[in-house]
Amino acid sequence: MSRAPSCPVLEELAAGQELPPLVSGPLLPPHLMRWSAAIENWHRIHYDHPYAIGHEGLPGLLVNGSWKQHFVVQLLRRWAGSTAWVWKVEFRFRAMNVAGETLTAWGRITDVRPAHDFGLVEVETGIVNGDGVESTPGTAHVLVPRRDGPAIPEAREELLAALGSSVLQG
């Protein structure tokens, strides 16, 4: 499987290319504590081990879904660089991840097509743990420039709305 080039432009991308994976972990209680504190979310299942196990019957401290959604976006943005625009992401929370796991965010291009002056790239994404269990399957859309095309405009609301109605549903 080939690697999708960084600073992506439409002409160099193809279905099947893989994004450079992003690895995080092992995610330990201090990581979860730091995240909970930064976003001021005090749900105890993320940092209070006796509570998570004894009170909620969980297998361990739960890795925050809010962090996992950032993790997928990080994977996409690191690949997209400053010239492409991560437009849409969606994913399901299919399985729990618990403290101690090492997680890998991955992405694989499933479709590349021209869209107005740009290119639209569809990426299948996910997060797997060390056992290879997929917890967060999803799909993303990234807008990329053409090789000799214009830069993606700073004010992109109108462009994305036009793309949304002509290229994608909803």
């Binding site: 730091r34 509570y51 809010s66 976006v73 690191r78 992401v89 994913f91 609301e157």
Partner: protein, 178 residues
């Protein structure tokens, strides 16, 4: 809902009438500071990426990650301490009504709430100095028959803007109640 003839629905007309209902516009109350962004990026473990000379660092120290607006709404200086509730009930789960949208509650006899999934659309990057505003609406409320009984999927779409009404992102959460 093809099986509504065999299974009584818990979605009353009053509940389905909530589809499309918008809550109030909420303000984060204070602008994003560089210090808050720094702590956020550290906690999110934003990867530090080498960039060509003369281009801005990554992650930026003046522009927040696209999902930042979701976390802009925190306790304000003169709001009461939510931990006070632990004095009365030390077994509270610690959520303290977090994620308040201002939408009217959906009164159904399904107590468990699972975060089923998210979709997000990004329009502009949130910047240091932005005061995030948000407005939520019920995008959809549907009932499904799961293997373990009925469940209701409540989709809440939240639109995030800055203090000037510039659209930042739109995020839809699917909450599964069962």
């Amino acid at each position: 809902m093809n099986d509504s003839t065999t299974t009584p629905s818990c979605l009353t007309p009053e509940i389905t009438a909530l589809i499309g209902r918008k809550g109030p516009v909420r303000s984060a109350g204070e602008p994003l500071s560089r210090d808050r962004l720094r702590r956020f990026n550290h906690a999110a473990m934003e990867p530090v990426v080498p960039v060509p000379e003369g281009t801005p660092p990554f992650p930026r120290d003046d522009v927040a990650p696209p999902l930042w607006p979701l976390h802009a709404f925190v306790r304000q200086p003169h709001e009461p301490d939510p931990f006070d509730a632990l004095t009365g009930d030390p077994d509270l789960d610690g959520t303290y009504g977090a994620g308040e949208t201002g939408l009217p509650p959906i009164d159904i006899p399904l107590r468990r709430i699972l975060n089923g999934g998210v979709s997000a659309e990004f329009f502009a990057p949130p910047r240091v100095g932005d005061v995030v505003h948000a407005q939520s609406e019920y995008a959809d409320i549907v009932e499904r028959q799961g293997r373990s009984g009925p469940m209701v999927v409540v989709s809440i779409r939240t639109t995030y803007t800055d203090q000037n009404g510039r659209l930042l992102c739109r995020v839809t959460n699917a909450f599964i109640r069962r």
